[in-house]
């Protein structure tokens, strides 16, 4: 036995090597600790980290363009805006893309997205939506005249139903899924015929779009319903092609008689010039600028929001600075930082003596003072801000007193709000407790004997304070400053109410884009930048002062 203990590993009482046993115990301890915090961790991740991350992700996300007009965007990506605006083929693809988007009511959403980049796109998409159908109806009328059976559901179903078109159908299904984020569930009740897809490529695509939409979104039976007017426009595209006309003449499958009847009357068919139709709808469609916009913002991810957030813009020629009269955000970022610093410094200047008094007065008076500090802290933010309004306005309490005392003339009352002064005064007051409380808790731990010792060694009052007391209170200042500064940077209610025009912060614009313009991408970009700036300042603070020197208490 003694031999084994000398050569083999050390064993615990139950014969397991001690190292393993210890490691196991440690692991168990760690798991238990982890389990203890697991609910909190899960809570923080689900309610805090994930929402923030997904919000920040919006600052680059731009899939709406390629999801709504997928095939159009793909073509535009390979050509120049000038060529795109002239390309008849592009407008045919656009017609199918737009028709699908209109039915899914997604075109207006894309319109508002692109309107952030260029005024007028919103109404372009909204008004075009309704007119696309009219274009299709003209073709529908033609087919109805050629053979009334063609405007009925069964004709189409018999023509298109079959085997061999699975690939095409799956492609179209992918487009619809991207657009509506609805997954196909179960049997569609329709399969695409490969023969029809080869004979009538445009019509097969348009019909597949309609059939998938009807089956998945509307949840209706495909076999009896008449398709969208847009499908007739697509069929016209096919039949306008002489090659297809001769193929139709040789075709003998279902629907052959109707198709041949339509080809026989082909001279009466409205022209299949889709560029001209779109030009009729709105000549913005054939303007190269529109296509330049779709080219620049066609990608899945964009830097456009971030560029907007720093007063630049994405153009077909690259990144450009915005003109002078549109620059706003950099100025607001700068103002937010500077004013937050001013507020922090004023909080230190005002809070330090108060905290000192709190820490050094006898218990009874200190408690009363403490309540005075805490009372406003417990009052609603809005109430305090509105109270400052009553005090600071030109016909307000402070001005009235000054006029009564004769310090200012009645016609030259001080302007103390609706500008940066108002913001600084009100926010300093509102944030003061966040400075006083950490300062107080640190000062409480500085023994008063140190000051007395310094004085007994011959220091003047100032030297004793500056060389002995103050350095020990620095961790409190650090903690208070971080709290106040970071809170100040994100404030928006107080600046909105008393800030006027030169006292508003970047957060006010973020709030506007979140709640009013719905430009969440830009709001997310602004928020991300603000977060990065705060992190950067925190890191700098850590490098310069050291985060270990921050104390919130004891």
């Amino acid at each position: 036995m003694s031999e084994t203990t000398q050569t083999g590993p050390m064993l615990s009482a139950d014969g397991v090597p001690l190292k393993t046993s210890l490691a196991r115990a440690l692991r168990r301890q760690k798991t238990r600790a982890l389990l203890l915090i697991a609910p909190l961790l899960a809570f923080v991740i689900i309610t805090f980290i994930i929402p923030i991350a997904s919000m920040l992700f919006r600052s680059v996300e731009n899939q709406i363009v390629s999801n709504t007009l997928p095939q159009t965007v793909a073509i535009v990506g390979d050509t120049t805006a000038q060529e795109a605006s002239m390309d008849e083929m592009l407008f045919r693809v656009l017609y199918l893309d737009m028709y699908r988007a209109v039915e899914a009511k997604a075109h207006t959403r894309l319109g508002s997205r692109l309107n952030y980049e260029k005024s007028g796109i919103s109404s372009l998409f909204r008004t075009s939506g309704r007119k696309l159908e009219t274009v299709g109806e003209d073709f529908e009328d033609f087919f109805k005249d050629a053979d009334s059976g063609m405007v009925k559901g069964p004709f189409w179903h018999e023509l298109m139903q079959g085997e061999g078109g699975e690939d095409l159908l799956n492609d179209r299904l992918g487009l619809l899924t991207d657009l509506t984020s609805l997954e196909a569930s179960g049997d569609l009740g329709f399969t695409l015929s490969g023969e029809a897809a080869a004979l009538l490529p445009w019509a097969a695509r348009a019909y597949a779009d309609w059939a998938l939409f009807t089956a998945i979104v509307d949840e209706k039976d495909v076999s009896t319903k008449k398709p969208w007017a847009g499908v007739y426009a697509a069929l016209a595209l096919d039949l306008a092609d002489p090659a297809t006309q001769s193929a139709v003449a040789a075709y003998g499958g279902s629907g052959a008689a109707e198709l041949q009847a339509a080809v026989a009357n082909i001279a009466d068919m409205p022209a299949t010039e889709f560029r001209a139709y779109f030009e009729d709808i709105d000549d913005k469609w054939v303007a190269p600028e529109t296509w330049a916009l779709l080219k620049v913002f066609g990608s899945q991810y964009t830097s456009g929001y971030f560029l907007n957030a720093v007063d630049m813009k994405l153009t077909p020629d690259g990144i450009e600075q915005r003109p002078d009269n549109e620059r706003l955000y950099l100025k607001l970022f700068k103002r937010t930082l500077i004013m937050s610093m001013v507020i922090t410094v004023s909080c230190i200047v005002l809070g330090y003596p108060v905290a000192w008094l709190l820490a050094n007065l006898p218990m009874r008076s200190a408690n009363v003072l403490m309540i005075l500090v805490l009372l406003p802290f417990w009052t609603s933010l809005l109430v305090r801000t509105s109270a400052w309004k009553v005090l600071l306005q030109q016909q307000g309490v402070i001005n009235d007193i000054l006029v009564w005392l004769g310090f200012v003339a009645d016609d030259s009352r001080l302007i103390m709000m609706n500008n940066s002064t108002g913001t600084i005064i009100a926010m300093t007051h509102i944030l003061l407790p966040f400075m006083i409380l950490p300062l107080y808790s640190v000062m409480k731990t500085i023994p008063p004997t140190y000051l007395r010792a310094a004085k007994s060694l011959g220091a003047t009052n100032w030297t004793a304070f500056w060389r002995v007391y103050f350095p020990q209170s620095v961790p409190g200042i650090g903690a208070g400053s971080i709290l106040v500064f970071i809170l100040a940077i994100g404030y928006y209610i107080t600046p909105e109410i008393v800030g006027g025009t030169d006292g508003v912060f970047i957060s006010n614009r973020i709030a506007y884009h979140i709640s009013s313009s719905l430009n969440w991408g830009l709001a997310a970009a602004l928020g991300t930048i603000l977060l990065a700036v705060v992190m950067l300042l925190y890191w700098l603070y850590d490098r310069i002062v050291g985060i270990d020197n921050v104390k919130l208490g004891g």
């Binding site: 005024s119 007028g120 909204r126 549109e326 025009t501 030169d502």
Partner: protein, 364 residues
């Protein structure tokens, strides 16, 4: 044991509150006097007739657009009916957040048989919008600060010689830029053409620039009546109902200008994607609450004009003051000699752009 009891009690509570929820309807509005007028004119009579339905009011209309989008993305829509401005209804409709309405089949016809869409007329500014009221943004002034010649034209805003003192204007371009161009000599029917060009936008801001130092910019409409009552400003823009309340209900020394007022509509939208049973309940309420009589009733509590043409002759007296309300409506012929009707299509297109320029101009 205790735990089991507590769990049982909680689940019982959840179940009962769940079933209570099934009988309730959440309506979103603006709070204040406006919401009170809706409660008295629409929801009180409705719940009196349908005692099994509870109506819950939520004062979130100011953030409605953003909240609806968040609810839609979360797939959990807790609102049944939302009161929004006409411009927001377009945005919500475009974003697919509001349901499209077939006004003729879903809403009550006028008593004389006129279809709902004809009765509402131009106030149906988007396919999702069910109009309730016409309100206007107009200018109020302090009677004792304008001297012997109270302003009669909107251009008094820009005349700091005749009317020295601060003015309060909305901290967004709507109405301000139109007034600026009008007072800069642009004929009224050309204003939106001018405003669509960058030069026109600069021109409007330049005109506003002549009074920039004299303006207090408001973001809540309640600020102007308050500033007028405090004597902080000589004149300012706000909604006509706010001015009426300050003048008639609170007897403040305030006068009101009916010139170049900006007419706007406010109404309901139904959130997209409501389950069938809730939708059915909402549509039943809507049919009642937007009929000719109900819209006319609302005018007894607040000085906004009913959106239906057939309601106008039915407008009666103020519920508390007993004064006839018709002369205080923004739609009254005497008041609407010279009006702007908000150009929704224009603003849907240019709002982002002009607002960006406006805010940059403000910050400079």
């Amino acid at each position: 044991m205790k735990l089991t009891k507590a769990l049982l009690a909680t689940s019982a509570l959840v179940i009962t509150s769940g079933s209570a929820f099934a009988e309730s309807m959440t309506l979103v509005s603006w709070g204040g006097a406006y919401q009170a007028s809706q409660t008295k004119a629409y929801s009180d009579p409705y719940t009196a007739a349908n005692p099994d339905i509870t109506i819950i009011w939520d004062e979130s209309s100011a953030e409605a657009v953003a909240k609806l989008r968040a609810m839609n993305e979360a797939g959990n829509i807790t609102w049944d009916l939302v009161d929004v401005e006409g411009a927001d209804s377009i945005r919500l409709c475009d974003e697919g957040l509001a349901m499209e309405i077939d006004h003729d089949t879903m809403l009550a016809a006028a008593p004389d048989g006129t279809s709902a869409s004809d009765d509402f007329g131009d106030s149906i500014v988007s396919d999702c919008f069910i109009p309730q009221i016409v309100f206007s943004t107009t200018v109020g002034y302090r009677l004792d600060m304008v001297g012997a010649t109270p302003p009669t034209s909107i251009c008094a805003l820009f005349d700091t010689d005749a009317y020295p003192g601060k003015r309060a204007l909305n901290k967004r371009p709507l109405a301000n830029v139109e007034w600026a161009l009008l007072c800069d000599g642009v004929p009224k029917d050309e204003i939106y053409d001018v405003l669509a060009t960058p030069e026109g936008q600069d021109r409007a801001l330049a005109k506003l620039g002549t009074i920039k130092d004299d303006v207090i910019w408001w973001s809540a409409a309640a600020e102007t009546p308050q500033l007028l009552a405090d004597g902080e400003i000589v004149m300012g823009s706000t909604y006509n109902g706010r001015l009426f309340a300050a003048i008639a209900e609170q007897n403040q020394p305030i006068g009101m200008l009916w010139d170049a007022q900006m007419l706007d509509f406010d109404g309901w939208i139904v959130p997209a994607g409501l389950p069938e049973d809730r939708l059915a309940r909402v549509m039943d309420f809507l049919n009642f609450a937007t009929d000719t009589q109900r819209l006319a009733d609302q005018a007894a509590y607040i000085s906004y004009g009913p959106a239906r043409a057939s309601s106008a002759p039915l407008v009666g007296n103020h519920a508390d003051l007993g004064i006839p309300m018709a002369p205080h409506m923004p739609t009254d012929p005497a008041n609407s000699q010279n009006v702007f009707v908000t150009q929704y299509e224009f603003w849907a297109d240019y709002r982002d752009d002009i607002d960006a320029k406006f805010q940059a101009w403000l910050a400079n």
